[in-house]
């Protein structure tokens, strides 16, 4: 019995914890964005700071009518949000929140996380295809284009800390970043460049502005999600935020020292979440400061700028390690 509890309990807690946390992340984004724009965000629901807004949104979406377009491909249409959601949650299985606090601290942790997060594009395309809608299809095709083009440089840049550490295990990478200046973001030259590249490429692989040509509200009116309403839409929104936070966690682990921070080791998870939140807020800050780039320019940027840059960064990391630098075994 206790065996069963130990098997089911932690994933259950993790999933629900992430779910509730990410729901409130939407509120955080809205309040932060509002303050960037000289206004207050949600205020009335759960006065005075809109604390009940995410719950109100969830209830509203639950109560909405579930419309399926007549000509839609039913199986694909209904399965798509789930296929979109599951890989996002699956990422968290391999992410350690503190020393020993991972569901599965895999030897190849980074590879697992990156591979699973790449499955998102399948769900996205299923959404666009199943909707039987020109706008959705156009958007889905742009998405496939963009995400696939940006996965390669993203992975290469994510490998820079791996090269510096010598291991793919995420907890080892964090252990190699002891001390405040040991964080890879403070690594002279290489660390800053890799971190900036990581943030930009993360934005691109999650369809966040300035790379959100996929949704492009003012052109394609919600793009691949245009035919979804009610709970299915909620699942898609949730999946996007869960994925975003997952990538923020990954960035924390790779560059910001994960759970390391002053104070007792028990504070580890709190430092981790705080750092991930900082990364999340940076992403939100970027989102609300820039206009979007056109699709052909996005692809040109990916293949002509970011791919060579990430290859050069990786080679530089290798050169540094070969010359005796790097951290950890």
């Amino acid at each position: 019995m206790t065996d069963l509890l130990w098997t089911v309990g932690p994933p259950f807690l993790l999933l629900n914890g992430v779910l509730i946390f990410v729901t409130y992340l939407t509120l955080l984004e809205r309040k932060f964005a509002a303050r960037l724009q000289s206004r207050v965000g949600p205020y009335e629901v759960g006065r005075p700071h809109g604390w009940l807004q995410p719950i109100a949104d969830a209830v509203k979406l639950l109560l909405k009518e579930d419309i399926v377009p007549a000509a839609a491909d039913r199986a694909v249409y209904n399965l798509a949000p789930i296929v979109f959601l599951v890989p996002a949650f699956l990422m968290y299985a391999a992410i350690p929140f503190a020393r020993g606090w991972a569901l599965a601290d895999l030897e190849i942790g980074l590879v697992f996380v990156l591979a699973v997060s790449s499955l998102e594009v399948v769900g996205l395309f299923m959404c666009g295809w199943g909707s039987n809608n020109k706008y959705a299809l156009l958007s889905a095709m742009r998405a496939v284009n963009q995400i696939i083009s940006y996965e390669v440089p993203f992975i290469l840049v994510a490998l820079v800390p791996v090269v510096l550490t010598g291991s793919l295990r995420l907890s080892t990478i964090v252990d190699a970043q002891q001390g405040l200046l040991g964080w890879f973001v403070f690594y002279p030259g290489l660390g800053q460049l890799a971190f900036v590249a990581f943030v930009i490429l993360a934005l691109a692989s999650e369809n966040r502005i300035p790379f959100d040509i996929v949704e492009a509200e003012s052109e394609l009116v919600a793009g691949f999600r245009v035919e979804y309403s009610g709970m299915k839409f909620a699942l898609i929104q949730l999946a996007e935020f869960v994925h975003l936070f997952g990538v923020a966690c990954l960035g924390t682990l790779l560059f910001l020292g994960g759970w390391l921070g002053p104070g007792p080791a028990a504070l580890g998870p709190i430092w981790f979440v705080l750092k991930a939140l900082v990364l999340f807020l940076v992403v939100v800050w970027v989102r609300w400061s820039f206009i979007r780039i056109r699709v052909d320019q996005i692809l040109a940027l990916s293949w002509k700028v970011f791919l060579p840059a990430s290859v050069v960064l990786l080679l530089a990391a290798g050169a540094v390690v070969a010359a005796g630098g790097g951290a950890g075994a």
Binding site: R35, L36, R39, S289
Partner: protein, 179 residues
């Protein structure tokens, strides 16, 4: 990396940094939101709000003499007046104003010879039934008692616009009205 590439990259980074700095600066400014309806912003003196009919402050009589000038001048023709003749002066027997079609142009206020119709410093008459926005005479008088009127009255507006007469007396009135 090619020389031009590095310089371009630095320029791009600097531009991106400037943009983000502007947004960050706004993060620390007070929001401009006015938490309506708990807080209302101060409406200026000349605010053209909901219309109302007035009483003479000294005698307590209705100001409206039913002359129908407002009905004729109204561009969307929302006012309907029927005159009631009486001994000393005329009244309006019927005065309806369709507020849902009103343009709030203040022309009716402008032409009124007795300053009977005025606009109030409120706009807040939102309702779920459009029939409540068909204001009849009683409602118009009640609104006039309920809310503060704006500055504009017929005589005031006409005095502001009148060119100075050859004596200069009206010019003085115009200057006073402009103060």
């Amino acid at each position: 990396m090619p020389e031009g590439g590095v310089r371009t990259a630095v320029r791009m980074a600097r531009a991106a940094g400037t943009a983000m700095a502007v947004t960050l600066r706004n993060l620390f400014r007070t929001p401009v939101t006015v938490h309506y309806p708990r807080v209302t912003r101060p409406y200026p003196e000349r605010f053209r709000g909901v219309l109302a009919l007035t009483y003479d402050p000294e005698t307590g009589e209705e100001n409206c003499i039913g002359c129908r000038l407002c009905e004729f001048i109204c561009p969307p023709q929302v006012i309907k007046v029927e005159m009631l003749k009486a001994e000393k002066r005329n009244y309006a027997k019927l005065f309806t104003l369709e507020l849902y079609a009103c343009e709030f142009c203040e022309l009716c206020v402008q032409v009124c010879p007795t300053d009977a119709i005025v606009m109030l410093r409120t706009f807040d008459l939102a309702t779920t039934d459009r029939r409540e926005l068909l204001l009849d005479k009683d409602r118009l008088h009640a609104l006039g008692r309920q809310f503060p009127p704006s500055w504009a009255t017929g005589t005031g507006l006409r005095a502001m616009q009148a060119p100075p007469a050859r004596g200069g007396a009206k010019g003085e009135a115009a200057k006073d009205a402009a103060e």
